[in-house]
């Protein structure tokens, strides 16, 4: 583990102020660039060809960044094949192409540590009983384990006495939920689910069931596209869950398989905060220069976690905006951002096309 990451993890989660954080990250990220350049030949070719070989940025926004789709088209790793413990995959939302992230033992450990560090900030030091807003069938069959299943499994590590709120066909399991609440509902408990499922399969099914979730801490993630289609934004989501269940401790997070363990967690002001070992730059899609707070642009994510693959500085396909810097609500420091959705997919004209059955 690089020393800068150790320093970042030693501080209270989400506590590093922007200036302090940038100094720490610059040294760490430059170190990672150098490391990956030396151990990943395609990465070196990209740096040499498009970034003048850049290895020593003097500011975070000078760091070379890779478009995140590179992990769908290239095999990028900085460790030998035999060192890879697991290849993480995700389909994303944009089609058949799958990201393949090479994770070795060290990076895997780093990811778990980092994630625990972030989650502890909202869950506390003690492991809590956990109500999963999903079915246990989602990870039971290893042959068909999906990104969703992997996500559920990954988060289950941070709770215990797991119960599953949905049956294998994603219908509500009232008995299990009631039994869980009878046993654990009087003290804090942990809930996790994908945003859309929390809404459709949990909220809409259970809202009239008179559940008391006031001791619950809900962590959810997974994109807002389908929610926006239903005119549900974060405010509506929070209000509805508060009204139906008395659930107020709700934390959305933004993260991606290409930087697993690095989660932007929703702070008390509803904004998403990068952890101490990460940062975000919003770039103007015309000039690619960093945007001022308040100006929307494309999200670039920086993280000290990726040691086994060159994923420490990535240009995402998401739009976002910085709303505050070092706002300091309940000690949450750094940039507070809002994610605005995906960058519109490009459609170019032209005379060659596919046989579109729908056309």
């Amino acid at each position: 583990m690089i020393p800068e990451l150790e320093t970042a993890l030693a501080a209270p989660p989400y506590s590093l102020r922007q200036a302090e954080r940038e100094d720490l990250l610059l040294a760490g990220l430059n170190r990672l660039t150098l490391h990956h350049r030396a151990h990943c030949a395609p990465y070196q070719r990209m740096l040499d060809g498009a970034w003048q070989g850049s290895t020593a940025a003097t500011r975070l926004d000078e760091l070379p960044y890779l478009p995140v789709s590179l992990f769908k088209t290239q095999r990028l790793q900085s460790v030998p094949d035999e060192a890879i413990r697991i290849t993480m995959t995700s389909s994303g939302t944009s089609g058949q192409a799958v990201s393949r992230i090479a994770v070795d033992a060290e990076t895997s450990l780093i990811q778990q540590k980092a994630l625990a560090n972030s989650l502890m900030h909202v869950l506390g030091r003690k492991r809590l009983p956990m109500l999963v807003i999903d079915t246990d069938a989602v990870f039971k069959d290893p042959a068909t384990i999906s990104a969703r299943g992997a996500g559920v499994l990954g988060l289950m590590r941070y709770g215990h006495k797991h119960a599953f709120a949905l049956d294998p066909s994603l219908r509500p399991d009232f008995d299990t939920v009631r039994a869980f609440l009878a046993e654990h509902g009087k003290t804090p408990f942990f809930m996790f689910g994908f945003t859309f499922m929390v809404w459709i399969n949990f909220y809409e099914q259970f809202k009239d069931a008179g559940l008391d979730l006031s001791n619950g801490i809900l962590i959810h993630s997974g994109g807002w596209k389908k929610m926006i289609e239903r005119s549900v934004d974060n405010a509506v989501f929070r209000q509805a869950l508060g009204q139906a269940f008395g659930l107020t401790r709700i934390h959305n997070f933004y993260g991606m398989v290409e930087q697993i363990g690095s989660i932007f967690l929703e702070g008390p002001d509803g904004l998403l905060y990068p952890p101490n070992f990460a940062d975000v730059i919003i770039r103007d899609p015309e000039t690619w220069l960093p945007c001022e707070p308040g100006q929307p642009g494309v999200i670039q994510v920086l993280s000290l976690l990726p040691h086994s693959y060159p994923g420490h500085s990535l240009l995402t396909e998401d739009m976002g905006v910085i709303r505050s810097i070092d706002a300091g609500h309940d000690g949450w420091m750094g940039k507070g951002i809002e994610v605005l959705g995906r960058v519109a997919r490009a459609e170019l004209r032209g005379c060659s096309d596919v046989l579109a059955a729908a056309a």
Binding site: M46, S69, M319, V343, A346, C351, D353, V354, L355, A358
Partner: protein, 405 residues
């Protein structure tokens, strides 16, 4: 849905039987090749495009109208007549089916107009929903044809692929022209047309440009700007997605700083003409640039603003086949036109050039022979339609000859 475009702006829904009856009725409806009547029909279309409140502002429609106008068609008719051999009477081939690409551009109108000019009855299968400009154009064509009494013989319609109607119609056609991707051409070609019919695919093509560094070095400011403008049109008119749009630029002999001089001019035109690059396209270009570097297809990448990205190819053959569109160019340095031979495979369509004399052009044509590459034309003419397309003499294929003695 099955529908026919008529005098009304919107297509009228019909049933399969009605469409098949219409098509079957065309078998003996063909006219006289390049007759004065047909010149008149195309000239009227030209006139109406140029008067159209929206279409007359689109350069590709103006170019189409210019080609369809009386003088141009009369010249084509004269040259065809002059090439006739005694004892051979040209005849329309019969009924032609045109399958334009889903994202219809104007090229299909050229091939349809050629077929009409050959005297054929034509069926054009359009996508169910058309882009706004295409809708206007199709509406204009259908209305003009109706007004001139040519409407029966020229059918613009939609029917679904993969349904019985597709096969039922296919057997009436003497000629089938398929525009689109390789997969579409292969799929559509499976259905038999008339046993003596002719089916021609115009599949995915890729094109490149060739600039002689020496000629560029000698060009003055105005000539360089003029070249940049013609090149800009070739690249950006169809978002670099046309078959003829250059994706690779080959410099003949080391250009040194001249390359950058040229790219700066092109990029500055893109800015002054407000060529829009959406964020998604810009990210896609950046991603391809990195992909090519990672795979060692290129070894250097520069962005001249969002509109123009240029990567120096170390593997030009692969680079040519990894297009993006929206202003992504690979460049490469050759020492002689003969170096282009490995680049010429079947999918190569157009080589646009600057500073190449006739001797070198012919040498290039000989280099391409038997491989691929069907047009060698000056920069600025990449997207210009001509009656020999993808190496196919369209008029010859759209007509038959009756031998008599």
């Amino acid at each position: 849905m099955i529908a026919i475009w008529g005098q009304q702006p919107e297509p009228v829904q019909v049933d399969a039987a009605e469409l098949e009856t219409r098509v079957a009725g065309l078998t003996y409806a063909s006219g006289t090749p390049y007759s004065p009547d047909l010149v008149k029909v195309l000239d009227e279309i030209s006139r109406r495009i140029l008067q159209h409140p929206q279409l007359r502002h689109g350069p590709q429609y103006v170019a189409l109208a210019f080609w369809l106008r009386r003088a141009s068609m009369q010249r084509l008719a004269d040259s065809l007549r002059a090439a006739e051999q005694p004892g051979y009477l040209p005849s329309a081939r019969g009924v032609a089916l045109h399958l334009p690409p889903t994202n219809v551009d104007t090229i299909f109108v050229y091939s349809w107009a050629m077929s009409l000019f050959a005297g054929n009855a034509n069926v054009v299968r359009l996508p169910e929903s058309l882009k706004p400009e295409t809708r206007l154009l199709v509406g204009l064509l259908a209305a003009t044809l109706g007004d001139l009494g040519e409407g029966q013989r020229q059918l613009f319609c939609h029917y679904p692929y993969g349904q019985p109607i597709e096969a039922a119609l296919a057997r009436h056609f003497d000629l089938r022209l398929i525009w689109g991707g390789d997969a579409k051409v292969n799929q559509v070609s499976k259905l038999p047309i008339r046993p003596d019919g002719l089916s021609i695919g115009f599949p995915d093509r890729k094109s490149l440009a060739l600039i002689a560094s020496d000629a560029y070095r000698q060009a003055d400011e105005a000539q360089r700007d003029g070249l940049a403008e013609r090149f800009f049109n070739d690249v950006y008119w169809f978002d670099q997605m046309g078959c003829g749009s250059p994706r690779l630029l080959v410099w003949l002999d080391e250009p040194g700083a001249l390359a950058e001089d040229f790219y700066r001019r092109v990029a500055s035109l893109a800015r002054s003409k407000s060529y829009q690059v959406e964020a998604g396209t810009a990210i896609g270009k950046l991603a391809l640039a990195h992909d090519l570097l990672a795979e060692a297809v290129t070894d250097r990448h520069s962005a001249y603003g969002n509109a123009l990205h240029v990567s120096r190819a170390s593997d030009p053959v692969e680079a040519l086949h990894r297009p993006h569109g929206g202003g992504f160019l690979c460049d490469w340095v050759a020492t002689a036109v003969e170096d282009l031979a490995p680049l010429a495979s079947r999918p190569l369509q157009t080589v646009t050039h600057f500073g190449i004399d006739a001797v070198a052009c012919e040498a290039l044509a000989r280099t391409l022979r038997g491989r691929g590459g069907y047009r060698i034309v000056p920069i600025g003419q990449a997207l210009q339609f001509e009656p020999v397309w993808d190496g196919v003499d369209l008029m010859r294929h759209m007509t038959r000859l009756i031998a008599w003695r």
